[in-house]
Symmetry: C2
Subunit: 766 residues, 2 copies
Amino acid sequence: MPKVADQYLSVDPWLIVEEGYHPDRSRVSEAIFSSANEYMGVRGYFDEGYSGDRHVGSYVNGVYEARKIGRSYKGISTSGNYMVNTVDWLHTRISAGGEVLDLHRSKFSDFRRSLDMRTGLVSRSFIWHVKGRGRMRVAFERFVSMQDAKLGGQRVTLESVDFKGSVDLVFALDFDTFHEASDRKNFWDVLRREAGPGGAALLGRTQNTSKLLYSGFRLTGGGRHRAFNEGKKAGVSVALTLAPGGREAFEKMVVNEARFSKGAAEAAAWAQGSKLLKSLAAEGFDAAMARHRTYWDRLWNTLDCTIEGDPENQQGLRYCIFQLHQTYHGADPLANIGAKGLTGEFYNGHTFWDTEAYCLNFYLFNNPAAAKNLLLYRHHHLPQAIARAREIDCEGACFPFATINGEEDCGLWWIANTEIHVGLAVFYAIWHYTKITGDKEFLYKQGAELLVQLSRFYASRGQYGQKSGKFGLYGVMGPDEFKLMVNHNCYMNLLMKKTFETTAATLDEMARKAPAALRALARKTGLKPGEKADWLGKARDTLVLQDKSSGVFEQNEGFFDMPHKELKSIPAKDFPLYHSWSYDRLYRYDMHKQPDVLLFLFFFNRSFSPAVKKRNYDYYAPRCIHESSLSPAIHSILASEIGYHAEAYDFAKYASRLDLDNYNRNTREGLHTTSLSAAWMNLVYGFGGMRSDGERLSFEPCIPRKWKSYSYRVLVRESVLEVRVDKREVQLRTVQGPPVEVDVYGRRRRLDAEGTRVALPAARRA
Amino acid sequence: MPKVADQYLSVDPWLIVEEGYHPDRSRVSEAIFSSANEYMGVRGYFDEGYSGDRHVGSYVNGVYEARKIGRSYKGISTSGNYMVNTVDWLHTRISAGGEVLDLHRSKFSDFRRSLDMRTGLVSRSFIWHVKGRGRMRVAFERFVSMQDAKLGGQRVTLESVDFKGSVDLVFALDFDTFHEASDRKNFWDVLRREAGPGGAALLGRTQNTSKLLYSGFRLTGGGRHRAFNEGKKAGVSVALTLAPGGREAFEKMVVNEARFSKGAAEAAAWAQGSKLLKSLAAEGFDAAMARHRTYWDRLWNTLDCTIEGDPENQQGLRYCIFQLHQTYHGADPLANIGAKGLTGEFYNGHTFWDTEAYCLNFYLFNNPAAAKNLLLYRHHHLPQAIARAREIDCEGACFPFATINGEEDCGLWWIANTEIHVGLAVFYAIWHYTKITGDKEFLYKQGAELLVQLSRFYASRGQYGQKSGKFGLYGVMGPDEFKLMVNHNCYMNLLMKKTFETTAATLDEMARKAPAALRALARKTGLKPGEKADWLGKARDTLVLQDKSSGVFEQNEGFFDMPHKELKSIPAKDFPLYHSWSYDRLYRYDMHKQPDVLLFLFFFNRSFSPAVKKRNYDYYAPRCIHESSLSPAIHSILASEIGYHAEAYDFAKYASRLDLDNYNRNTREGLHTTSLSAAWMNLVYGFGGMRSDGERLSFEPCIPRKWKSYSYRVLVRESVLEVRVDKREVQLRTVQGPPVEVDVYGRRRRLDAEGTRVALPAARRA
């Protein structure tokens, strides 16, 4: 992993601070200082306009455009949806004494930008040296509310140091934003505009998908106000004069109200938006911020993680957790998490299997309602998944590789039609979620239906080898995207087998405990008498390739004989390889892009012996190229378990500061949102040694050499558990809710508020 | 093979005749009645215009346009050249008594269209019932000269039956043709136009590739002539009156002169075209036709094939041979054979491995100079192939999957970058060509250079398995295009091994017999000391998968375990499967698209025992889906050899009338030109039992049940051999040149003009 940090932000436990402006990192900072609340998100771009390189990105979860793709061959998706840039609701323009404020051209000093992770407030201020007129301090604050998803607030403060003269401001809403990946096209028609002295509103509609977005604001502040609207913009201009010591503050409270369904009534959207604006915008910036802040207070008070002795990792870890919460917190079961969250257009806002395989573990122990909503999102999109399965000549439900609205949006057939393991991650998430939460209501209703349709899909997509008589998936791509059209991918076959078994066991359990629900399920899914037996037969026959003598699983048929490449022999400049190697060459070695076998050794950790895990790690780790930001965490977790402490720490460091230090040099495109859970996983599953796939939660913590101590908390049913680890011992207790039984270093313990202390075994000290 | 004949043409040994017009088969007939002479080709479209469905296709070999393709990943080709429609040089318009002749609207009778395979003359005539003015016979004749490649002739004859009135004609050249596959765009700029009473000329230039094409004509015939030019057209209009019994004939002699290199001088092209026109067009239609005819006379007199008792196959066979000769006869080593020859734009005029794997066998025994030119074509394009190898991180030369000018034009990376067996077919062709012709001059000069660059390529593209220690090609697609990214494709590994061995043997031979040529070769190719040993080592280590007990070769690693599909269980309506099956599904069965293992059992037939061939045929034949028009012939040949006579006949029937009976329902797109050699191979290698890969030519003929007798001739060095087979015996003799030693049913015989007779073994009678 020849990856190097690019550190330019100050290290602080709770703040992300940029001291002095770094124009060459303009887009990186825009991504890092993003604000979001699941419903909407906005990059940390300059409110006041900027003629340098920047990307004014403002997104609403579920507002997408569609590109029509001509049909080539059957089964190759013709759907091409992508999250589209929406309204620039922070649009501000300032000129003073004839000079337009533009940090690309204006003279300024004392630039400071910060994100306070305790509150989600993004602030920016600087002293503007107005040509020939003196200096004034300009400050911007913004937040999007975690309490009222449709509400955003902006405050602009001007304070004259020694400036004297007239100042003109514009506060507006602007739908004339463009989509970077589509030749910078704009996709909005504005259907209605209204502006008055107190604010303005617009109703925008996307051109192909007819999504409606009402955006309105109320402005308070001094000066002479004049409303305007023109083109795709509406707002209020303000004229005032400022003298030394003078100060003017403007509060712009914004409501964005979207209508997602085609044919939604424009009048209703306008009326609802206006109503919301009236009620929400009235309270003003500080009051709305205070209500918003209660969300974060409650959260950090309950579920904070701490690291003593490693301020960089402490900051990085909190940043990842903060971003995960603001990107998704279970407000809407029709929303999901795009690869870049709401921080950029790259990856088209698509949801991948990252959600279930990575993010969901975080939410499960921090916000189980959000975890459930992620599963309900898949359940809601079952009809599209069923249609997709038909389209590729299969039964049941095939969840798309990349999607916004449940349709398959990945047009690269050799990925979309072979990397069909999304449903397996959905199975894993259902299994994990119901195990941890005990949510039988979900299981018997949506979970079982998902399982039945998943089992159907894999039973029809799988095939029997004519010589071996073994069942498995042919012509697939596993998690390792450097293997195309392989047979019997071990991860996929193993998870398929477990899908069959779990489905059958769930049906059996329902027969005993919820016969009415089972009847409803059978009616709804048309469950046929022989299906369960078919799945169990196929589970029994499924081939899971493993070398008997070493215990090493074979990633796919033929993998052990794949030509070997010493990764150390590849020059650092060749990375990422898909930029510098012929595309086909990537597929012809035993090196793999990201964990494949190791991933299921993490998912079903308790099912494998320490020796098997060590042998597999020893075989696969030196062959892994980590060209996925999801990759190092799994290695870190297993390395910790095995006792490769130094390696574990190196892998972990990368994850927690992936975006803050722009390790992959592409943070400008947006945060690696779905990878942020890796930082939390590194702490909790890695050093923290938690395992959640066994009969009980278990803990076998270790501590990195550099750290003095660390702590983390997890929410399990009604209880919050706290684990504190220092160089000598591990303290475990409940900080909320009833006692919980867990295993600590293999011994069963009952945790209560009193807590328990266990000495840290020597082998667990790095 | 659920394929059904659509027969609407009359059966005749030498003529292809359409009696009565079949408008629903307009495009099929256009393809079937195509004229060509390697340099240029023209579909059999109606000279006089037609408002119904048609495709005015006129092509010059090597005149192509280019589409720029954005770079995605390294190694994915960005070149997109395609043969472009050129000038409609047969452009004619006729009106009489105010009515425009248009067979889509006009009333007519006695329609007859014919192609005389003895002469290559395409004729069409009908009686036009001019509204209210009586009838006139209209006749069109055309040919493109096999003697003067740039010359084409058209004759239009009007003969009044009882028509009386004025007739207006237009004879023109029209560059306003469109390319069907590119939204019917036109790609020509006309740089110069000239028209006078005796004719007209135009100079066209393609818009992206700057190919120049001069087209000029001389017109003779009665009436008042008036020259015109406008837009992309130039010509002569003629006004005359016709009375019952009156007759007018017009001869339009055309020269098309192309300049292929970028930046070619327009003035020079115009001058050369004009000069050629002056000399060639002067002689008139009949004289030019007579000279042209000498080519066909000589050809049919020397190398005809006959079938007694099966007029349909006789006609089909001659048609295939005729088309092969007129598509390519070795006039230009920079020309090759597109998948549809010069009969349509489908497949973009691209040359594939069909040339070496299929067509070249035909030319080798019918026109060895043409066979040599096909190899020189590859030699000429070595620089592009070397560049392509670099682009995909390899050494040596990688011949493109689809090409016109030597660049890789296949943009489907999963085919272009994996189906890298074109070079292996080039090796096979070099090996076969030099074996049969003994052309050491070619071998030591161009052949050896090709072999060195090919061996280099495969030595660098091949890899060693880390467990097996065996060498082979990983991540490839073999001839069977229903297997993607497989390892150790048996056909490819075997041919790669032979490439290494043949290259080494050639270098050894040159060291003994042509040391100066070897030194020149070493200089030119930078041959390094260890290379030969490297190739021999890799040849020794190459894995050729074969089941030891049965002798069945395994098409690729894992093939024997691929899920089985009973082909009989697939409904006929599902074919072709790539239309009705999900694209990925095609790749997940043991069924294959076309012969893969069986192909090398044909290429190197004498190296394998009868038992091995039978066992492999028995295994693979029932798994072959024949979704390539190249496929059935190989099966027919091996079935004949094994003694599956009925099967052999069924496969052969399809090949000889593939286009005449439009078996694949896509002849309208153009002829399956590169598949036409299959008909000849069925006769000569199949029933005729010839084998050319052993030490001597060998013959083990059989005869289908339906046939009374058949004969064929092959040109081998200076001799023409004739083989005649009837129900009782086989007669072999030379009809030209010195005696030749061959094997007949395993016994060595010396053939001379006297000939030899051998009784037909009972097992060789169907």
